[in-house]
């Protein structure tokens, strides 16, 4: 009957208030919380592998971790935050500096600077080299800086772009636009683009020219972020924050939403977060009430940790979780590193290392 007579205006419809449950390969576990923590530091963000070493970013620092002994060394510190990192097969390394643009380091340690426009440089979410050292660059939104990603979500924006940079000529070209916050990017074996559109909860395949090819993952239960692919062609999807019905609901409540954005500080908003909110002013949901001293693992927390591995056709294989009672939330990047899977938990500021396939044992 609801279907017959219940149709109201679009933003009133119950359609879309549903958030898929995590089941099958996505069944929740606590593998992220049981992973070994190899490094801690606030704002750990992006990861890459260069010459057998793990390279990662933390705020304005570019660091590397030696596989044998786990020693961390500083490669270079910059005067502004690094928002994304990529390494090419040739050894070329690229970072995005907030508000400035790209910096590329050649194999012989020469740094090259490529400026991006202001609206692009403020929101570089992911970088990826193609086989010829061409650099693809995901711009989450050209309307908000990367730090205001929550605002971008609540503004219903689809102002994301994919840029292509030819380092040799320092030329920047827009490949695709109008994307729903592309937060992750990889190139598949055929040179096609694979993009995680966070606000649309999906991963899509685009042609090298940016045309939509097909849907790879749809209706994810969390917001997908960075992607990585290993030598065997298996993908890892990092999901940086959970979707909740209350957020979907608020997205459809323009009156309340506008007031919230206008009148409240950002740390007072109802919405997804990387880590457990520290502000005493962050709102609570009924399911998060601590009962008898216990926070339920299935509480609808604003943050969670989730990495999904997928086969070459993007069929999910397994997943690593940190639930409401865990700490390893806000996974900003994950990749295969030798026998291990390493993941950056931005919410807790931890670099995690897990044996690949470890979840099969449980």
């Amino acid at each position: 009957m609801m279907r017959l007579f219940g149709r109201r205006q679009a933003n009133q419809s119950d359609h879309g208030l549903y958030v898929p449950t995590m089941d099958g390969p996505l069944r929740p576990n606590d593998h992220l919380d049981r992973a070994s923590i190899v490094w801690t530091g606030a704002h750990i963000d992006d990861l890459a592998v260069l010459n057998g070493e793990l390279v990662f970013t933390s705020e304005n620092r570019l660091l590397s971790l030696r596989a044998e002994d786990g020693e961390v060394t500083l490669i270079k510190a910059f005067d502004r935050p690094i928002t994304a990192l990529a390494v090419a097969a040739s050894g070329l390394l690229a970072i995005a500096l907030f508000g400035e643009g790209l910096r590329l380091r050649s194999a012989d340690d020469q740094w090259q600077q490529i400026a991006l426009s202001e609206k692009h440089s403020a929101c570089v979410t992911a970088l990826h080299f193609d086989a010829d050292d061409g650099l693809y660059c995901a711009i989450g939104s050209n309307a908000n800086p990367i730090s205001a990603w929550r605002r971008d979500l609540f503004e219903h924006n689809s102002h994301g772009e994919i840029l292509f940079v030819n380092p040799a000529q320092a030329r920047v070209r827009t490949v695709a636009g109008g994307l729903h916050y592309p937060a992750g990017l990889v190139i598949d074996a055929d040179g096609g683009l694979i993009v995680a559109e966070a606000w649309a909860h999906r991963v899509v395949a685009l042609s090298p020219q940016g045309a939509f090819k097909r849907m790879l993952l749809a209706d994810l239960p969390a917001y997908p972020g960075r992607l990585s692919v290993d030598s065997a062609g298996l993908y890892l999807v990092s999901l940086f924050a959970p979707r909740r019905q209350i957020y979907e609901f608020i997205l459809r409540e323009p009156g309340f939403l506008q007031n919230m954005l206008a009148k409240l500080e950002e740390d007072e908003w109802v919405g997804p977060t990387y880590g457990r909110p520290r502000s005493a002013n962050y709102p609570l949901l009924q399911g998060e009430v601590r009962q008898m001293g216990v926070m339920k693992p299935w509480a609808p927390s604003s943050s969670c940790g989730l990495v999904i591995s997928c086969d070459g056709d993007f069929a999910p294989l397994e997943s690593w979780h940190s639930r409401a009672d865990g700490q390893m939330h806000g996974i900003s990047a994950a990749l295969r590193f030798g026998e291990h899977i390493v993941a950056a938990s931005k919410g807790s500021g931890s670099l995690l290392m897990m044996r690949a396939g470890a979840s099969d044992e449980h």
Partner: protein, 681 residues
């Protein structure tokens, strides 16, 4: 002027009403309306219950329809003969018992079992038929009596045979084929039913006995005058009913292989509803097998819709429309950052923990003159921890509901507000007695608000009157916090006078009135309105009697219990903190209502009751101190605190422990019992 008669003749030639008129002479026209209703119901059910017309569901439904349809035909035949058969439900149960006893207990062949079942139906029908047809008793009374007789036989026999029926197993492929088999994609029992229905139709419309039955039902006198053997015809109708009922019972037994004490109860009413709904006349003479079928299908579909869509969803619908939020604009909450008297600190951080894991839901805590500690638990007990170390403990009293607010009277009785029950008194030796559980009912309330639903806290005036709050009259104990979504004045302040034994409502429309404490002047009291974040003062005696004013407004959190401090001020527990987002929702009542309707309760925005604190105010209502636990893990939400001899004891309704801290600047000899009632005699 005359008009040329051209149009009118043509109109009548083409659109004559003859067709309709002749249509109405057909006997099956009676069935058109029920058939149309059935069609509409089928359309509705296919929309409401998406899987209803799947093969699996249809197969199951058609088996049920077979049994129910046979009973409908049985009753139709009796109604056509001008009688009524109320006993078919009991007859059905009895025949089921015979069939199952034959198959499962005695293990005879299926043919013999079928014969025995038919014989049982025949005998029952014949009893009705002889009593009504030949002896001429009234059909209604007679079948009502045989209903009771058959049912009694069933009730006597069933318990003796039940274990045999359940334990036994019928080894018959044919039996299973009837129960579960399919032929040409149609359930066997449905095919059997279809064949019987066809022959019943032929019998009623084409054979002499059918005509006789209709004639007798239409007019006994005319039937008699035209030479019909009325008595025999009536008896035959009841016997037909018995045989068809037995057949239905046999199909039912084959399908379920078991029976229960409620088999057949109320079945006669369902069948009667079906046939009457489909147009079989209760007066006799009018009706058909087709009517019976339509009625049976209609009633089955209505039953399915009612069951699947209403019974299963009533609570859901109630839950969705019950929450009724209102507009409430609070001022911007005071900051809880450095520089504010509410600034977060860690004064509760090193609290001693008492009874961790042994008490669940210690909403309030209180100490007696000997320094023993009492608290209520959600298991419905009052637990006593013995001084001085509070390790040894016992269940002091069992009440049944969750004891919330506690207070000692002058004689050492412990009074408590019990969620869902009322105000109770526990004597020093642990004997529980009710003080009050009702008040005067208000005139405009739909729900009966005379019973106390959520008494919350109480205190006792010097003259012995008990003042207590009822936090909300719209929600139960377990869903108290949902009341916050409404922000409406659902609560009240009540007074119990021991002199008259009467309870009356003092103030109503309060926004979750919670903690209450009598001021040292003995004329006034303070009470908290939790969701309104304020403390009120009310004078119940003295020159300002009846006056109410705001004592403390715009707190940064939700006040719960209030108790006296040794320095003449008060302690106030804030069970949770306001958040700007929730405050904003209080200005969007329709947003909250839609939230309650459209998303599950665990994702509703909520007051932050995970973090609370204790504040201290002086006698004039000025906040002088706040005490926090920074981590919010030991004592996340404080609902109560009690000062006693230099210590502050802390309870929390969602917690499983009690805390206590040493107070730096407090009178080490101060004890509330002495402050209230003087030194003990």
């Amino acid at each position: 002027m005359t008009r040329i008669p051209v149009v009118t003749p043509r109109r009548y030639r083409i659109f004559s009403a003859r067709f309709l008129g002749e249509l109405l002479t057909k006997s099956w026209i009676d069935s058109v309306i029920p058939a149309a209703v059935l069609l509409v119901m089928v359309i509705i059910i296919s929309i409401l219950i998406p899987g209803f017309f799947s093969l699996g569901s249809l197969s199951d439904q058609s088996r049920q329809l077979s049994e129910f349809g046979l009973l409908a035909i049985a009753l139709t035949i009796v109604l056509l003969s001008g009688g009524i058969d109320l006993s078919i439900g009991s007859m059905f149960a009895l025949c089921v018992l015979v069939a199952l006893t034959m198959m499962n207990v005695l293990g005879v062949s299926i043919y013999l079992a079928f014969g025995a079942t038919l014989l049982a139906g025949f005998l029952c029908g014949a009893l009705n038929g002889i009593l009504i047809g030949y002896i001429g008793l009234r059909a209604f009374i007679t079948t009502l009596v045989t209903l009771v007789i058959f049912r009694s036989i069933y009730d006597i026999a069933f318990p003796r045979l039940a274990s045999g029926i359940v334990g036994g197993f019928a080894e018959s492929p044919l039996w299973d084929f009837i129960g579960f088999g399919e032929y040409m994609n149609l359930p066997v029992s449905f095919l059997i039913f279809a064949v019987i229905a066809f022959f019943a139709h032929i019998m009623l419309t084409r054979l002499r006995i059918g005509w006789h039955i209709r004639a007798v039902g239409g007019s006994r006198k005319s039937a008699h005058n035209s030479g019909i053997h009325v008595k025999r015809t009536v008896a035959i109708a009841y016997i037909c009913s018995g045989l068809l009922t037995a057949t239905a019972a046999f199909l039912f037994s084959a399908r379920l292989g078991s029976t229960g004490s409620d088999t057949g109860i109320g079945l006669e009413v369902q069948v009667l509803t079906a046939v009457v709904l489909a147009g079989v006349s209760l007066g006799g003479g009018r009706g058909s097998v087709g009517n019976a079928l339509i009625g049976a299908a209609l009633v089955l579909i209505i039953a399915v819709i009612f069951d699947a869509k209403w019974v299963k969803n009533r609570q859901k619908i109630l839950g969705k429309v019950y929450v009724s939020p209102t507009y409430m604009a609070l001022d911007k909450a005071p900051a809880i950052t450095d520089g504010s008297v509410f600034a977060v600190n860690d004064l509760l951080g090193d609290a001693e923990i008492i009874g961790q894991g042994t008490v669940e839901g210690p909403e309030d805590v209180i100490l007696d003159r000997q320094g023993n500690l009492y608290t209520g638990t959600r298991h419905g007990e009052i637990v006593r921890f013995f001084a001085p170390d509070f390790v040894r403990h016992e269940v002091f009293a069992q009440i049944g509901g969750h004891p919330l607010g506690l207070a000692f009277d002058g004689s050492g009785n412990l009074l408590t507000c019990v969620g869902g029950m009322g105000v109770y008194r526990v004597s020093p030796d642990g004997v529980v007695s009710k003080v009050t559980d009702e008040t005067d009912r208000s005139l405009t309330s739909i729900i009966d608000d005379s019973r106390l639903r959520l008494p919350d806290d109480l205190d006792i005036a010097p003259d012995g009157r008990i003042f207590f709050t009822e936090a909300t009259k719209r929600y139960e104990m377990t869903e108290w916090a949902v009341d916050a979504l409404e922000g409406r004045g659902n609560g009240r302040l009540l007074e119990y006078d021991p002199k008259s034994g009467k309870t009356r409502t003092v103030l109503k429309n309060l926004i979750f009135p919670n903690g209450v404490t009598i001021c040292p002047d003995g004329d006034s009291l303070l009470f908290a309105e939790t969701w309104a974040c304020r403390i009120n003062r009310y004078w119940f005696a003295g020159p300002r009697k009846g006056r109410r004013e705001i004592f403390l407004d715009n707190l940064p959190g939700y006040p719960d219990n209030i108790n006296r401090a040794s320095d003449g001020g008060y302690w106030i527990a804030l069970l949770g903190m306001r958040t700007p987002a929730f405050d904003l929702t209080m200005q969007h009542p329709s947003f909250r209502r839609r939230m309650a309707v459209r998303i599950p309760a665990d994702q509703w925005l909520f007051p932050n009751i995970n973090k609370g604190c204790v504040i201290k105010v002086n006698a004039d209502g000025k906040v002088t101190q706040s005490l926090w636990e920074a981590a919010g893990e030991q004592l996340p939400s404080v609902t109560s605190m009690r000062e006693h001899r230099g210590w502050l004891y802390l309870g929390g309704v969602t917690n499983n422990r009690i805390g206590r801290i040493r107070l730096a600047e407090a009178d080490e000899n101060w004890d509330a019992n002495t402050a209230y009632w003087g030194l003990s005699s």
